[in-house]
């Protein structure tokens, strides 16, 4: 196969980035101490600036950088507006919930999100750990698979399709497997900082370039709004209740997204939580609002309905930059930023699965007594299995990553998040209600998605896909808790730090 010099540059960029972060991971691993608490949550000693960068780098991903701009022209502007609606509730309630998660995380030295859940539920620990591990692994497989799509799609589009999507998909996954096997996940927080900085440099360059080309934001907006694709993409197609349930059910469920929760456990003090949260939310304004808006409008303005031919729609963004600025160092910088953000998110997801398998399944769930070395091997094999299984989602994607996220991935997290957030504040919740809520939430999610209403939005009411299962989970929590004896007074006093009169 004869490759053009430019395709070789794109390929080399991928190899160089993985090699560089592998070295960074190795150095980081030497700097971090030993022990599970050190390994998974950095010993709970991350400073505010590190919390901010790790949170932002984990959160900001190809979803914002290529997924959202592409969905604006492929599905419609409203799908990006829904993301903005999500931030209305997520940002406003982040400090309230984040501080409480940090509080109990610090007080009881939790390592995994499941630690928090089983402790608060206060019973059925083994069963619950196994159930939650299955729920989190299910969600992770969809999530990681969803990120593979832009990771491979962007690189393929950058070569003009010379190297096919599937070649990059398999290459990317092979690199991930090598990275995991070599222990690269050990210093995910340090690798995140590199990813965050790369992203910011790439992003600032992109805004500058986009504004100079179009001559100002308003000119860009009107050019897009009067293009021949505009009547199709700037009209609302979803009912109001879909938007509203995005605000309430989707937005709030992200307050307990497992791989971000562990970042709160890693914060050094409450100032770290507050400053890290404020800083990362401000970063989201750039990453989730300015960046997708500029790029999405640029796609509509430049191409109109003559969108470039790509294997997956996420390839529109690199195609635009190639058409605007040609092949060169600027595009390489953007590709670096894109590889960095996809990698940092996958790192966090797989590190979470690692902790779930290692601690929740092997140590505390199934309770197998094996040597530390065998445990590490078993954990690594499971992570590699998840990384490989996720390919199934990306092999022949039927929808853009954003739609897969809204429809399948985020609902899977919502059924974990909703009962957990309620239990953080509601003292009457007991172990029976807790167990029932996760069971009902997960089973109803699977039934609605794959059996009863297989067509999106998986309910006949026009609600966001995660709404009904989350509602049922919370209903089960409340009804079963009230129908059974309250949790022991001593436990409640200790957990919530209150004295009964």
């Amino acid at each position: 196969m004869n490759l053009s010099p430019w395709s070789l540059v794109v390929l080399s960029t991928l190899v160089a980035f993985f090699s560089f972060t592998l070295i960074a991971g190795y150095i980081g691993a030497r700097r971090t101490g030993r022990g599970l608490h050190e390994f998974y949550v950095a010993g709970g000693m991350l400073a505010p600036i590190t919390v901010m960068f790790t949170y932002m780098a984990t959160y900001m991903e190809a979803w914002e950088f290529v997924g959202m701009p592409s969905v604006i022209v492929s599905e419609g502007f409203e799908w990006w507006v829904m993301e903005m609606i999500f931030y209305l509730s997520f940002v406003a309630l982040w400090f309230m919930v984040g501080l409480r998660i940090y509080r109990v995380g610090k007080l009881y030295r939790y390592i995994t999100p499941t630690d928090l859940i089983v402790h608060r539920v206060g019973g059925f620990e083994r069963f619950l750990r196994i159930l939650l591990a299955i729920m989190i692994v299910y969600a992770t497989i969809i999530y990681v698979g969803m990120i593979y799509i832009p990771a491979a799609g962007v690189l393929s589009a950058a070569t003009g399709g010379e190297i096919p999507y599937h070649v990059f998909l398999f290459l990317y996954v092979i690199f991930i497997v090598i990275y995991i096997s070599a222990g690269g996940l050990r210093a995910v927080a340090y690798a995140d900082i590199i990813a965050g900085v790369t992203f910011i440099i790439a992003f600032i360059s992109m805004i500058y370039a986009a504004l100079i080309f179009w001559g100002g934001f308003d000119k860009l907006a009107w050019k897009a709004y009067t293009s021949d694709i505009a009547p199709e993409i700037f009209q609302k197609t979803q009912p109001f209740q879909y938007f509203w349930t995005m605000l309430i059910f989707y937005g709030l469920s992200w307050l307990f997204i497992p791989h971000l929760v562990v970042r709160l456990f890693a914060a050094k003090d409450y100032k770290g939580v507050l400053i890290g949260g404020m800083g990362s939310n401000a970063g989201f304004f750039i990453g989730a609002f300015v960046s997708p808006l500029l790029l999405g409008l640029s796609l509509a303005a430049y191409y109109g309905s003559n969108l470039p031919e790509v294997e997956v729609v996420e390839g529109y963004v690199p195609s635009l930059f190639m058409d605007l600025f040609g092949q060169g160092p600027f595009l390489v910088l953007l590709l670096l930023g894109l590889i960095a953000i996809t990698r940092s998110t996958i790192d966090s997801m797989l590190l979470l699965v690692s902790s779930i398998v290692d601690i929740d399944l092997i140590e505390r769930g199934i309770g197998i007594k094996i040597s530390e070395r065998k445990r590490r091997i078993a954990t690594t094999l499971v992570i590699i299995g998840v990384a490989l299984l996720s390919i199934l989602v990306a092999l022949a994607p039927e929808a853009p990553m954003v739609i897969i996220g809204y429809e399948l991935a985020w609902p899977a997290y919502a059924v974990i998040a909703w009962p957990t957030i309620v239990m953080l504040f509601w003292r009457r919740a007991n172990k029976y209600g807790g167990l029932a809520s996760y069971l009902v939430g997960f089973i109803s999610l699977l039934l609605f998605t794959y059996v009863i209403w297989p067509e999106a939005p998986h309910n006949p009411f026009g609600l966001w896909e995660g709404t009904l299962p989350s509602l049922l989970a919370v209903a089960a929590l409340i009804i079963v808790s009230l129908a059974t004896p309250p949790p022991p007074k001593e436990f409640i006093e200790e957990y919530y730090g209150v004295r009964s009169s």
């Binding site: 599970l36 502007f77 940002v91 406003a92 610090k106 709004y225 009067t226 109001f240 605000l247 730090g497």
Partner: protein, 99 residues
């Protein structure tokens, strides 16, 4: 659990909601109204109309984004002030107890 034990700086965060935090429910009502307004009035293709000199859908998205970024800074300031004040209050109680 990996272990438990009181650590400095954690007691300042109350486990339950502080009274003023219930105001966030009022905010959610306002946010619901904003979502309704943008979804029903701004997500339209009307090239002859403009809002703030911008196409309506873009202006609608801007309204939402400005709201949440302002809330971010306002709530950060409020939480930082409240929690730091609680920390100082608890610190002085500690000193009195020791004396």
């Amino acid at each position: 659990m990996a272990g438990s034990g009181a650590q400095p700086g954690i007691d300042v965060i109350p486990s339950g909601l502080m009274r003023w935090e219930y105001l966030l429910l009022v905010y959610l009502v306002f946010a619901s109204f904003l979502v309704w307004y943008v979804a029903e009035n701004m997500l339209v293709w009307e090239p002859e109309e403009s809002f703030w000199g911008l196409p309506k859908p873009v202006a609608g998205a801007l309204m939402i984004a400005i709201t949440w970024i302002v809330m971010n800074f306002v709530l950060f300031t409020v939480y930082y002030y409240v929690i730091t004040k609680r920390a100082k209050g608890m610190g002085s109680k500690e000193v009195v107890r020791r004396e």
